[in-house]
Every structure is written in structure tokens, then in C-alpha cells.
């Protein structure tokens, strides 16, 4: 199934819409400069600020000035509006229309003004998304992805998956993020902000500039677009998500995650690296990112690196929104056939690629732009890449037809040997089976596998054992939620390692500090739900910032306050380069994460997934509607017949992205597991659970 983009919208420091954005790019006009709207003591940190106050945005959008709306939502509404208008999607359109927003900052702009009072509905990332959704009144469902700086790219990936699985007809996906004092001080504490305009890939680069904005695209299938007569702007021809599994904030020197994401995205598109005409790099301007991304680009493209540029010296680093804004830039580049330049690059660095800085006006165009690779890398090593292509009816992607049917061993009933590298050779989505390098999805074939619960662990509160699994030196920076996340996950994975044909790794702490002989399954995907993330750390950083007047801020507290900290911590701990994503949409976070895992397992992208729901509730957030607990579920796709063991509980379906309590799901699965009756089906919120009897399964072995 071809996924088309039929609408796009963008707001950033270089334009309140797409046309202004393109004009700024073509005229080499940066939006990075002194702050005007954000009130902070830092006057030496230029940013890419959207030149509208909150009140001005509310006036433009017809929102009453007195209504509290986070700036993240206001920016999101502006970009979604432009995208919907271009696509001609409105209230008259039937079918399931879903909004997927990527944000990490959420309503922190309001919280930092009212703390210690926290309005959890406004602070919440999901609450910000709901405000965007309710403005339009056309979205049946909404969710939020929070993988820091790759959030928007992962939103677009999940949107495409929903459409391919028939779970949505139209998806509006992207990201929105406002500047806040909170993350300005956070990035400053990491000493990665440049006091001048950033210079991605330059030998003298000295860090990034933060920016803000929103970028969204309208996704639909080719058939759906054709049926309603919508014009395609571009095709989303490939994508992949992989985890660097290296460090919470630093990138690995060789760029394992970035390489896997780029290779996976190109493979899914059915293209060769030589078909890529331009790369819109993540290119933040930090010494670390740009060297790592260059190393990864050299691995993927060898000596034939296509023109590469980072547009962050125009927009600043718009963090969670960057994948959305940059996708829109890539779509405009395809539409208008121009190459955005890498503004401000002057000096070559042997550790970096040399970016595209423009040619003389007389020089002929290099070649037509047909396929663009767009990179987004986030804290925690959450690395994603998209391939955007010029749409050409009938299909221009040379799909692999013979070598592989697109079906992994999961469908053949042959367990993958334990020593085969992760299918996913890192990229959950595109890597799939190691024997199938590229190829179409198995979408036209019936999904006859069962998604069974292989391992499960639930821990509530702060009183739990952890030293048997975590070395105190390794855990020294971990707050309660991080330790609880790891313990629940590792114990569920240990339980699951008893299954046949599993990849297993050693886990557990020994007195000498090494790892013990305990084994656990290493999942193909780690998908996490968390409403507020490590709130304990966020509040520690917030109160220190307010008390100290934005000085002497601890980088440790900041780096643990992104929502993807628990999820990426698991992959870092396991050395797991597979798919990794985090959903932060209040009570619907868990159903979102489960849906993501379920669809990937069903389609054969992956064979095993660790799905978690991890939250901590502080005194200031006691009205937040999720339990102070951690649920870890290990899911496995098994063929319809045979080798699934005896009694098991399977997830038969997830009907919608809707509220689902971690504790309720745990109790429901437990009751079914312990039930003495034979086959039985029960519903828990939107999830349909089924218990199969042992006789059925054993009869087939």
C-alpha cells in the first residue's frame, strides 16, 4: 500500500506558513536571533522563536485570550490547520481521522509560570494534543509520541502504520513544541548551546540553537486519496526507527542507531542509497551529533554521499517538532525542486561530511529531486529516518519481488536461531527478517499469527527490590521510576526467555559489578507508555530553576526528565538496537503503545515486543489519572498452529486508542491466566483478550 501526503503545514521562526518558509530558505534568511517573547535571564542564547505572542496566536485562531492554552498547542493548531486546508480534509469527510502529535515540552510553558501548582491537564503532552484535536472537532482519536527530538518523525511512522493496517483512513501526523525556560536551561546545563548562530558540520561548530514551531502532514492511502480526488504532494515511501542504545544524551561514535535508521528507511522504500537525491540531516550543530551523523552517512552512502544540509541554522532546533517541520521542508523541496542550503558552514572538519551550501546561480541543477531522506535523532538514541518521494502514479519504487515474500520466519513456524542478529538488525520496522533485505510488506496476506503474552510483571509504588538486577554504580543516577521500569521490564523478559527460539542476553548484577548469568529475552521492539515521564526529576529541575534564578542547573536532572527516558533506558541497558518508541497521551498512552506493538507483530515486522506502562505520581500531580506503577508485558507473535506452548493469553484485538489502565489490564490478564475454564474472551477497555486452552495447542505439536 502506498502512503501519500496530501497536505502539509508548518510554522517556525522562518515562516508562519509553507510559502514564507520556502521564501526564507531560498533567500538564505535565518530566523535565529535574540529572544523576544520568552522571558529568561539568558540574553546570550539566540533561538529560533516564532514571532507571535500567545495572545496574537489566540487572536488569529479565534481562541479567547483568557482561555489557558499551552503555546505548544497554539503552534500545533496553526500547522494542522494549514495541512488540513491544503488536503481538503474537514468535517464532511467520513471515516477514521486520527491526529498523532509529537511533543515533549507539552504545557511546560504554563507549568513553569505556576509551579508548584501543576495543572496536569495542561502540563500533559496528551492534554496539549487534545487541545489541538478539539479545536478542529474532526478527529475520532488522538495520541502523542514523545521520543524527544525524533517525536514528529515517529508520529509520521505510526500514522503510516495505522493506515496500512486499516486502523485509520486519514492521519494528521507531525510535531509541535514551544520554547520554554525549562528546556533552554536544560540544554544550557548540558553545555550544548551555541552563543552564536549554529553552524552544523562546520569545524568551528559550538552547539545548537533551540527553536520552536510545528510541522504536520496529512497521510492517506493512494486509494483513499484517489477516491476523494485529493492531489498527492509526496509519497512516504520508507521509514525506520532504531535505537542507538548507547547513552541517554550522547550519540555513539560510529552512529549505530543513525545508520540502522537510514538503511532501514531506504530499504523499505525499495530504493538503493544511490537513488537518494538529498539528505535533510538532523545536523544540530553540536560537536557530538554532527560527527556521529557524518560517520553514519559515510557508512550508508560510502563515497557517494548525496547533497546533505541541515536546516537548523534557519529554524533553530525545534526538538520534538523538528521531524515535522523538516518533512514539510522536504515536501516543498520536492514540489518546487530546490535544495535547501546549510547556512553558515565555512570550515571543513575531517570528522564531518561537507554539506551543501549552494552553487552559483548559473550552475545547472544537479539532477531532479525525486527521493529525499529526512533524519531525526533524539535523546536516548531514539533515531528515525523517513524517505519522501515525488509521487508518481503506478509506482516508481523498484520493489523486490522474488527474493522475499516479505514474510519472516514468524509465519513459517520456524523459530529464528538465537544467534541471528536482531531482525531488526536494529530497525524494528524496516529491518524485519535478516533473510529479507528489502521488500514489500506482507499486507495483502492474512495475518494468521497470534499475539501472546509471554511475560508480565507489575510493580506499584516505591517499595521494591532492585539490587538483584541493577548494579548500584549503574543505578546511581536513576530515580525511582527508572529503577522500577528496569526491574519490571527485566523480570518480565526473564519470564519470557523460557520460550522457544528466543534471542537471549545476560542480565542482572553481580557483586563484582559485572553481569550475572541470568538470561532474558532481548525484544525486537521496546514500546513504552508514560504520561508524565520521570516527574520527580522534572520537578527537581523546575524548582531548582525557579529558586536559583536559572543558574547552576544540574544536567543530570534535566536529561532524565524527557518522557522517553524510561523506554530508552531499557534499550540502553539491554544493548537493544531494535525499534523504540514512547507514547505520552494520558490514560490512552498504554492503548497507543499496545496498538503500535500489536500492528508490528501482526504484520511480521517484529516477532517480540516489550510493552510497558511506567508512571510516577508526585504530590503536585496527584490528580493525574494513571497509577504510580510499572507494568511490563512481553508479547510474541506465534504462528496459528503449534509451538505456542500450552495455556496462553493472547491479545486478540485493540479496538481503539482509548483509556486503558495498566492495573486493570494486568488484573484481567492474570485472571485469564489463572482461569480454570477453557477458551474464553474478555474485554478490558479497548483491548480484547482471549485465553486458549492447552488441548488445542498441544494437539498440533
Amino acid at each position: 500500500m502506498r502512503i501519500l501526503i496530501t497536505g502539509a503545514g508548518s510554522v517556525s521562526a522562518i515562516g508562519l506558513n509553507k510559502d514564507d518558509t520556502v521564501r526564507s530558505l531560498r533567500e538564505a534568511r535565518s530566523g535565529v536571533g535574540p529572544l523576544k517573547h520568552l522571558q529568561t535571564v539568558h540574553d546570550n542564547l539566540p533561538c529560533g522563536e516564532v514571532d507571535l505572542s500567545d495572545d496574537e496566536m489566540k487572536a488569529v485562531l479565534g481562541i479567547p485570550a483568557e482561555k489557558p492554552v499551552p503555546r505548544t498547542s497554539l503552534l500545533g493548531i496553526i500547522a494542522v490547520k494549514e495541512a488540513l486546508e491544503q488536503a481538503g480534509v474537514g468535517s464532511g469527510l467520513p471515516g477514521r481521522i486520527v491526529l498523532i502529535n509529537g511533543t515533549t515540552v507539552g504545557g511546560m510553558d504554563i507549568t513553569e509560570r505556576t509551579y508548584p501548582k501543576v495543572d496536569t491537564r495542561l502540563h500533559d503532552c496528551g492534554g496539549c494534543t487534545d487541545l489541538i484535536s478539539s479545536y478542529f472537532g474532526i478527529f475520532g482519536e488522538a495520541t502523542t509520541i514523545s521520543t524527544a527530538c525524533s517525536s514528529a518523525a515517529n508520529a509520521i511512522i505510526f500514522g503510516s502504520e495505522l493506515i496500512k493496517a486499516g486502523k485509520a483512513d486519514v492521519v494528521v501526523a507531525g510535531g509541535s513544541e514551544s520554547l520554554t525556560r525549562y528546556h533552554l536551561n536544560g540544554f544550557n546545563s548540558l553545555m550544548i548551546l551555541d552563543s552564536q548562530r549554529c553552524r552544523p558540520f562546520d569545524a568551528g561548530r559550538a552547539g545548537l540553537n533551540l527553536g520552536e514551531g510545528a510541522g504536520f502532514v496529512v497521510l492517506e492511502s493512494e486509494a483513499h486519496a484517489e477516491a476523494r480526488g485529493a492531489r498527492a504532494l509526496a509519497e512516504l515511501s520508507g521509514y525506520a526507527n532504531a535505537c542507538d542504545a548507547f547513552h541517554q544524551t550522547a550519540t555513539s561514535p560510529e552512529g549505530a542507531g543513525a545508520t540502522l535508521a537510514m538503511r532501514g528507511a531506504i530499504a523499505m522504500s525499495g530504493l538503493e542509497p544511490s537513488d537518494i537525491d538529498y539528505v535533510n540531516a538532523h545536523g544540530t550543530g553540536t560537536p557530538n551529533n554532527d560527527a556521529t551523523e557524518s560517520a553514519a552517512l559515510r557508512q550508508v552512502f560510502g563515497d557517494a554521499i548525496p547533497p546533505v544540509s541541515s536546516t537548523k541554522s534557519f529554524t533553530g532546533h525545534t526538538t520534538s517538532a523538528s521531524g515535522g517541520i523538516e518533512s514539510v521542508i522536504c515536501i516543498e523541496a520536492l514540489q518546487k525542486q530546490f535544495l535547501p542550503v546549510n547556512l553558515g558552514w565555512e570550515n571543513s572538519d575531517p570528522d564531518c561530511i561537507e554539506p551543501y551550501v549552494g552553487g552559483s546561480p548559473a550552475a545547472p541543477a544537479r539532477r531532479p529531486l525525486r527521493h529525499i531522506l529526512c533524519n531525526s535523532f533524539g535523546f536516548g538514541g531514539n533515531d528515525s529516518a523517513l524517505v519522501l518521494s515525488v509521487p508518481s502514479p503506478g509506482g516508481n519504487s523498484p520493489m523486490c519481488q522474488e527474493e522475499c515474500s516479505g514474510r519472516g520466519p514468524i509465519f513459517s513456524g520456524t523459530p529464528r536461531p538465537a544467534n541471528v542478529p536482531s531482525t531488526a538488525v536494529g530497525s524494528g520496522i524496516a529491518g524485519r527478517d535478516p533473510g529479507c533485505k528489502i521488500g514489500p510488506r506482507p499486507e495483502d496476506e492474512p495475518s494468521d499469527c497470534h499475539i501472546i503474552v509471554r511475560g508480565m510483571r507489575y510493580i506499584e509504588g516505591a517499595d521494591f527490590e532492585w539490587k538483584h538486577l541493577l548494579n548500584p554504580m549503574k543505578a546511581r543516577r536513576m530515580g525511582t521510576l527508572m529503577r522500577r521500569t528496569l526491574v519490571a521490564s527485566l523480570e518480565a523478559l526473564q519470564q519470557a526467555s523460557a520460550g522457544p527460539g528466543q534471542k537471549a542476553g545476560r542480565i542482572g548484577a553481580t557483586s563484582s559489578g559485572g553481569e550475572s548469568g541470568q538470561t532474558a529475552l532481548i525484544p525486537d521492539a521496546v514500546i513504552t507508555a508514560t504520561g508524565l515521564g520521570c516527574m520527580e526529576n522534572s520537578e527537581k529541575f523546575l524548582s531548582a530553576m525557579l529558586e536559583s534564578g536559572e543558574t547552576m542547573m544540574s544536567p543530570t536532572d534535566f536529561m532524565q526528565s524527557t518522557h522517553n527516558t524510561p523506554g530508552s533506558l531499557i534499550s540502553i541497558h539491554l544493548g537493544d538496537h531494535g525499534y523504540n518508541s514512547t507514547y505520552s497521551h494520558g490514560e490512552s498512552s498504554l492503548a497507543s503503545a499496545l496498538t503500535d506493538a500489536f500492528l508490528q507483530l501482526k504484520s511480521g515486522h517484529i516477532r517480540t515486543a516489550l510493552v510497558g506502562s511506567h508512571d510516577e505520581i508526585t504530590p503536585n500531580t496527584s490528580d493525574y489519572p494513571v497509577p504510580d506503577g510499572s507494568l511490563a508485558l512481553v508479547l510474541e507473535a506465534v504462528p496459528e498452529q503449534g509451538q505456542s506452548g500450552n495455556n496462553y493469553v493472547e491479545i486478540a484485538d485493540i479496538k481503539a486508542i482509548a483509556p486503558l489502565g495498566a492495573r486493570n489490564l494486568y488484573d484481567a490478564i492474570l485472571r485469564l491466566q489463572e482461569a480454570s475454564s477453557k477458551a474464553e474472551t474478555v474485554s478490558c477497555g479497548p483491548v480484547v483478550l482471549r485465553r486458549s486452552s492447552g488441548e488445542e495447542a498441544s494437539g498440533n505439536e
Partner: protein
């Protein structure tokens, strides 16, 4: 060479700054490397040390790369503090 008292003080501050919960000052060899093989600390810990220098000794480092030499060991850190402290 910084005096014993300052070395002890730096050890205590380092233990607190990066939460080396199970270590006592006497467990740390003042000459041993702090990063990599030594205590196994990383770049975030180095940033915490930069913060420590500024907060407790009035020393402001502009470039995190300067930390490489200064934070080689507890002894080099104490030497640097002794020479550059403003409080």
C-alpha cells in the same frame, strides 16, 4: 600537589555530586583516573563537576573540553581548584 585536606574535601564533593552511593573517600585513589576505567563516569558526570567548580569554588569553565585535563583524577582536580579558586 594539593594538601590532604583539600583532596579529602574534593573526594567528598565528588561522591555527593555524582551520587557514588557505595563509596567512601578512602575507597578512591586520588591518583587514579576518574573517567573510563577508573570510576566509570561519563560526560554528564563531567558536567556535574563543572557545576561543582562554579558553585563551590567560583571557577567558571566556558568550554566543557577543558574538563578533560582538569578531571583526570582527584589529585589534578584538587590542584586546579587550589590554583584557580575564587572562593
Amino acid at each position: 600537589m594539593a594538601n590532604e585536606q583539600l583532596i579529602l574535601e574534593v573526594k567528598e564533593k565528588v561522591i555527593k555530586a555524582v551520587n557514588l552511593v557505595d563509596l567512601n573517600p578512602e575507597d578512591i585513589d586520588a591518583q587514579a583516573p576518574i573517567f573510563g576505567e577508573g570510576l566509570g563516569l561519563d560526560s554528564i558526570d563531567a558536567l556535574e563537576f563543572i557545576l561543582l567548580l562554579e558553585r563551590d569554588y567560583g571557577i567558571k569553565l566556558k568550554n566543557p573540553a577543558e574538563g578533560k585535563q582538569i578531571f583526570k583524577s582527584i589529585a589534578t582536580m584538587a590542584d586546579y581548584i587550589e590554583k584557580n579558586r575564587t572562593k
